[in-house]
Amino acid sequence: MEYIIQQVLNALSFGAEYALLALGLAIVFSIMGLVNFAHGEIIAVGGYTMVAFASLSIGNPFIVMGGAVLAAMLASLTLERVAFRPVRKADPTTGLLTAFGVSIVLQNLFLLFVSPRPIAVTSLYFLDWPIEIAGIRLASLQVFEALTTIIVIVALMLFLRRTVLGLAVRAASLDFEMVRLTGIRANRVFAMAFLISGLLAGLACIFIMARRGSVDPHLGFEPVLKAFVACVVGGFGSLPGAVLGGFLLGAVEVAMLVMLPQSLGGMTDAFVFMIVAMILIWRPDGILSPAVEKGDKL
């Protein structure tokens, strides 16, 4: 019994991280149809900001964490302004290629100007200590991450339902032109989506860095891949879908880790993706894909 509870909690904590990452991709996709593959590099910007703080011997964890989140938000806003705004009206493929391009350029900037090798960041180790309650072992980091994800989801829901700009972000996912016809400035809506996406990347960065303890130019690759898969499974463009997809991916991963025999241990990902493929055969547009407009109602 304890073993099952243990694994369920593990699945939830994996899922919480994937949900956080997937939301960052989904919020941008929902309004501009852009899969921002540079999301991973925004996470890396957060990581390198931590390195910068360490080299300035600023160790205050709140400054380090706050700085990393701020840097990620700024990076995201900057990318929107210089890279994505100019191609906003272009083909979706152009946007996708731009995102890949930005991702490659940023990775190479890290390679050239920082270092191709991993750099240790130890200032966040304090977030991680073992907790044992009634025979169940947990890492404090898992608890923090799950709590953060819950707070983020609630805050995002409040923003999207209670503020005019939040309503505009939701409406824009359906009919951007009509949002402009209410007088809301298009640039503000896009900037807001990227700002939120950057915030989510920054928060994810804290947990990724606290667990890994180092940053390298390819830090963001795996997280963004997982986020992408979570979005696809949940239904691209749907925010609840991103959250659901994240938790589902976490659950499948943990289930595979637990159930596969030792000899197949290295094939966890293969089995995970096989299950993802089967979900997509069942629901090709993802589980909670936004309903397609079925024409005018007369």
Binding site: D175, V179, R180, L181, T182, I184, R185, A186, D296, K297
Partner: protein, 234 residues
Amino acid sequence: MLIIQDLHVFHGPIEAVHGISLEVPQGKCISLLGPNGAGKTSTISAITGIARSTGEVRFEGRDLSRESVEARIAAGIAVSPEGRRIFSNLTVLENLTLGAALQKNAKEKARDRDHWFSLFPILAERRDQPAGTLSGGEQQMLAIARALMARPRILLLDEPSLGLAPKIVRQIFDLIASLKEQGMTILLVEQNATQALRLADYAYLMSSGRIVAHGTADELGKSDRLMAELTGVA
């Protein structure tokens, strides 16, 4: 109040409207009539800045032709577009809130909202339902109410009767009539010429991107040109 001069409207490389001029005086209801594809909706899109155009769009003495969509809306233009385009994933109330996006005064906003709710009890009843679940007529009312939430100086109505049952069409035109009585300046785009001419002070008839006739509702109503253009029978 709204003066359009030598307006050419483009969709990509195609010119949809070939240099039209028209005027909407303050407090009047002006109707723009014409068959499908005449360029009526293109004209509306050019006034709001959505479509690329050349020529002059002058509103309350100010030249808006170089201004952004957002600036034109802020100047006091509101539109209930063709096909209604309500935000179907948002609730009725949220649609109205977005309509009032540029309004600062929360009390006025609440008063406006209650005013439109009292005028459209069905919208009040369904305020927390997704707008996509409304019937076509209700969606049209919501689209008009959303535009009015902006407290516009001029209201552009693009085919408000499109695809609605005759009984609902009558309701919509009654509403437009009462808006006119309250002093709202209206540019009404319609294919339903009979209903539109009943309301309009002055009307323009468009065909193939040009204005082919204009006059008071009486004059135009009697002209053979109107019937010919709208029915295709000369």
